[in-house]
Symmetry: C2
Subunit: 247 residues, 2 copies
Amino acid sequence: MSDSDSGGRDIAVAVVDAETPGNVGTIARGMKNFGLSELLLVDPPELDPDGEAYGFAGSAREDVLPNAREVTLDHLVENYHTVGCTAVTNENATKHVRYPFKTPRELADSLRSVEADTCIVFGRESSGLNNDELARLDELCAIPASAEYPVLNLGQAATILLYELRELTIADDQLPEITDRADERAIEGLHDQFADFLVAVGHPEEKQAKSGRLWRRLLGRAHPTGREVRTLRGLFRRASEQLRDEQ
Amino acid sequence: MSDSDSGGRDIAVAVVDAETPGNVGTIARGMKNFGLSELLLVDPPELDPDGEAYGFAGSAREDVLPNAREVTLDHLVENYHTVGCTAVTNENATKHVRYPFKTPRELADSLRSVEADTCIVFGRESSGLNNDELARLDELCAIPASAEYPVLNLGQAATILLYELRELTIADDQLPEITDRADERAIEGLHDQFADFLVAVGHPEEKQAKSGRLWRRLLGRAHPTGREVRTLRGLFRRASEQLRDEQ
């Protein structure tokens, strides 16, 4: 297991017998989006640099996809803790090829404390991993989906797995911290200002307390930022002043 | 909001100005996989029944895709609680077009108690939703991804949103309950059997307790099924019997 430049952990992804180059490109892009880099291909289709694999790979065409290695299933079994992905599970414990399994979230939780080189293994578009292949892998993962149509496209299934593993593989995501939540004093100041606004606008006195509670519930659910609170407080203050000037 | 046949809640999905029919097909398939059915298209590309949209839609070519409706952004704003998806957020609260936002999981949690008709809105492949479009939508959602390459493919981004909303939209998933977790008495029985096996196999007496603890830790992490425990217990019993017969 090597750390990527961003400091996250690298988990390998393998695709067995992919039938369409486009899905390999989609998987490569998803890997780069979620901080993974090691793509292993068992019996891959030809990946033409002018074809769909590279067309679908986004900026992963520059690294993940050209660095993909062709390997055997034996190589995966011998060198990695392997996780086979399948939409089709056994109903119960009477057969162990497809049971028990983890969901993607359970898998991410369980891999958190595992230091082994790990490889997530996907199968062919038409029929996934077959029983002989699954029987050789260490554990299973299945994505919960509609009972009416649970079979995901290969690229979409891989995207979900990569997304769920992100907390292991991404050191830093692109999102800023939302650090501007208003503090309680500022929110109370806005409530006071709103109460004054109700008076200034001539809202019937017997309804003021009720309207104040309505406003408190609304803000309480919205978890406003400091800036939102300051802006609204200023607006209500100015409105109240102007309303009183008009009188 | 209408309930689908499976009993889950229907959340609408809208794509504004999609550029490639294939992504519309991918989104339709993902919707069907996760129990959604209402697809709304603003300025869509032509969806040729023999083209990529239908080619990528899986069995959603039978319902979600042909039932898609062409609408305007005005229609979405007027009729739905709208959630705009974007990979590009503002750094802080100085601008409100792209701030604050929820992650997909936070969005799913917050929609749990909301009864409004809700529509998840995605933008064009090349540049997403623009500021004018986002400014009209009610709230924002951003997928945490690698800071180095956070921009997901449209179809992949939609798949992740649909996956995270599944607990709202799917009444029943395809996965069986794993109801066969072994009970503690059965596991203790296996531990007793293993201890007896250590004796029968002639494991040094001073190491037996330590090896027993090693085995307890291993099983403890694996959360074995009843069947696994019964099978192993039977194997160790038979091995112990045969080892003693040989003596």
